[in-house]
């Protein structure tokens, strides 16, 4: 009733190849786009932007990036925090070195720089796999954070060792600095998220994505049908790095405004994004969104319930939050190891027939 694909025939292969082949899905996608671009900006306030929407948008970009690497290409990475830091510092250096260039291009360029760094740290993947590769990327995490802490050039020799985002505008509207409007920063991040999602989807439904998935599922067979493992793996690292760099740049410049690298981009961040894609669903763009939403919303929700409704002291609630989030993650992984995206797929299967069981 609710979800129909009956009677939805395709007469061309391009119609069958589109992102949302089912009409209902497609309309829902348009509605979501409409609401997020033309409704939310008018009702958003500072609390909603900084507590929910900005972290969600930015983490979703990072999750898409990491999902390409881990979920699609099967190369485990624990270096996400470090790569986000590369994006942040690249953006900072570009913003201060070329103040006349629009920040939009700085963010894109920061993504490009991160892509290059990510490829460099991806080189060991040609030799090692699985846990060993994870450890190699972990080295990237610690090395990069150390580098940004210790080399003053990266933070322009500032006394505090922090980096601060200068004020920058897009079309005359401020998107970084202390005097930003909630709707402006929201829209700025949303544009990047939508762009990233569309690019990721296009890549994964085409030949590039097939090469990645072939490497993930069986690398020997991939090689025997003509996939060059070098270019396939490194392109996954590059694309993944590009998105993660963008998210790091936005996280620093638009969301936080001032960053101390060990605090903002530590190992916790790597695990957070990894949890997002595992909970959301490996190898699924929708899963990246779902996982980011889940891990951004859950703490906010718990805090509201524990502090707001039950009246607990804030610090007890904060500790309890860790407990609950941790427990939920474990329960989740046991009950549905393929993540929210799989739950969604199962729900769709069920809804195909509902309310008639046959």
């Amino acid at each position: 009733m609710f979800y129909r694909e009956a009677g939805d025939y395709k007469t061309s292969y391009s119609a069958d190849n589109q992102t949302f082949p089912i009409r209902f899905d497609r309309y829902r996608y348009y509605v979501v786009l409409f609401v997020s671009f033309l409704v939310i900006p008018f009702i958003i306030n500072d609390y909603w932007a900084s507590a929910i929407f900005l972290p969600f948008l930015i983490y979703a970009i990072a999750a898409i990036g990491l999902n390409i690497l881990v979920g699609y290409c099967g190369q485990v990475s624990l270096g996400t925090g470090g790569f986000m830091a590369v994006g942040a510092y690249a953006c900072y250096k570009l913003m201060t070195a070329f103040p006349e260039v629009n920040i939009f291009f700085h963010v894109l360029l920061a993504g490009g720089v991160t892509a290059i760094v990510c490829v460099l740290f991806g080189l060991p993947s040609l030799r090692i796999k699985g846990f060993y590769l994870a450890v190699a990327t972990l080295a990237a995490q610690f090395f990069l954070v150390w580098l940004f802490n210790r080399v003053p050039w990266f933070y322009n020799y500032s006394a505090s060792g922090q980096i601060n985002a200068p004020e920058r505008t897009v079309f005359g509207i401020e998107v970084t600095g202390p005097n930003t409007e909630a709707w402006a920063v929201y829209l700025f991040c949303l544009v990047f998220l939508v762009g990233s999602a569309i690019i990721a989807r296009n890549l994964t439904r085409g030949m590039t994505g097939r090469k990645w998935m072939a490497i993930r599922d069986m690398d020997i067979a991939a090689e025997i049908i003509g996939v060059n493992p070098l270019t396939a793996k490194l392109s996954a690292f590059a694309v993944s790095g590009f998105f993660i760099g963008i998210s790091g740049a936005l996280f620093f410049s638009v969301y936080l405004g001032a960053v101390e690298v060990g605090e903002a981009f530590g190992i916790n961040k790597s695990f957070l994004v990894l949890f997002m894609i595992i909970i959301g669903g490996l190898g699924s763009i929708f899963g990246s969104f779902a996982g980011a939403a889940f891990l951004v919303l859950l703490p906010v929700f718990l805090k509201n319930v524990l502090v707001g409704s039950l009246g607990w002291p804030t610090d007890t609630a904060a500790h309890f939050e860790f407990l609950i989030v941790g427990a939920l993650i474990i329960v989740f992984l046991i009950a549905e190891p393929h993540g929210l995206a799989q739950l969604w797929r199962v729900a769709k299967e069920k809804l195909r027939l509902w309310p008639f069981p046959h």
């Binding site: 391009s14 030949m207 097939r210 069986m218 025997i224 049908i225 493992p229």
Partner: protein, 271 residues
């Protein structure tokens, strides 16, 4: 009969000149000689079988052809040129496709995506074109999909097109793997025991597909198989190996009457 002249078989298929030639191949793993000084050729359009008892070196031979192993001695000649040692993906890009004894499909992908990966050689648009999904990338996707659908029709796997391969039974997986290899439009198709573990009906189906493939697409096929009935019926010429050495080469009839081959298969009394 020179190996360069074309001829027409009894059932009307044209067998062309030599497309691949193995010259004095020797392959060693440490002290073990897997293949010793073997030479044979594969001609365009023929079905060439490699048979032999277990451990005879048949699969090693196939792995030499597809680039997994580099032989210590000997040369591989392909389309009139000596082939330098190359990686398996380079061999694939030259137009040599293969299937595996134990299926090597991409379990997490749908049947359609699996078969589409076979078209890697034909799909050349860059990452940036694919990222925006316009122009060449989109056109190429549709054109190659058309070809792949032909293969899917041919192998009668239309109904499972969008099913993830991990959910399929064994016999269908074998067929999907064949479809993937065939989608590459290979100059030579290597089949490593295409009928292993199948029942009689499935074997009949598979034999029919192999013959039709050869007939309709003119695909050159080199196959390893244990079922003698199948081999003798399908193939134009047979190479027989035993303990890494070639003990027979010729038409099925010649091979069947070769004393050395009979000894290898049935055993010989030592006095």
């Amino acid at each position: 009969m020179s190996t360069q002249e074309s001829y027409v078989t009894e059932d009307g298929r044209t067998i062309g000149p030599t497309v691949m030639e193995m010259k004095n191949i020797t392959l060693r793993f440490g002290g073990v000689k897997a293949i010793t000084d073997i030479s044979f050729d594969i001609r365009e359009g023929e079905i060439r079988a490699i048979i032999g008892p277990n451990g005879a070196g048949k699969s090693s031979m196939l792995n030499v052809i597809s680039g997994f192993y580099v032989p210590q001695e000997g040369e591989v000649w392909y389309k009139g040129k000596k082939r330098p040692p190359m990686r398996p993906y380079q061999v694939a890009q030259q137009g040599i496709a293969r299937t595996f004894q134990n299926i090597a499909l991409f379990e997490g992908m749908t049947v359609l995506d699996n078969v589409m990966t076979g078209r890697i050689r034909q799909m050349t648009s860059g990452v940036f074109a694919q990222a925006i999904w316009k122009g060449k990338a989109e056109k190429e996707e549709v054109e190659n999909r058309e070809f792949v659908e032909k293969i899917i029709d041919f192998l009668e796997i239309q109904a499972i097109r969008k099913t993830p391969v991990g959910r399929l039974p064994y016999g269908l997986k074998k067929r999907v793997e064949l479809a993937r290899a065939l989608a590459a439009e290979p100059s030579i198709l290597l089949l490593d025991e295409p009928m292993a573990g199948m029942n009689v009906e499935e074997k009949e189906d598979m034999s029919r597909f192999i013959l039709d493939m050869n007939d309709e697409f003119g695909t050159t096929i080199a196959l390893i198989e244990h079922d003698m009935g199948v081999v003798m019926d399908l193939s134009d010429r047979v190479v027989v190996m035993d303990y890494g050495k070639k003990i027979g080469d010729g038409t099925p009839d010649e091979v069947r009457n070769n004393q050395e081959v009979i000894d290898a298969y049935l055993g010989v009394a030592h006095d």
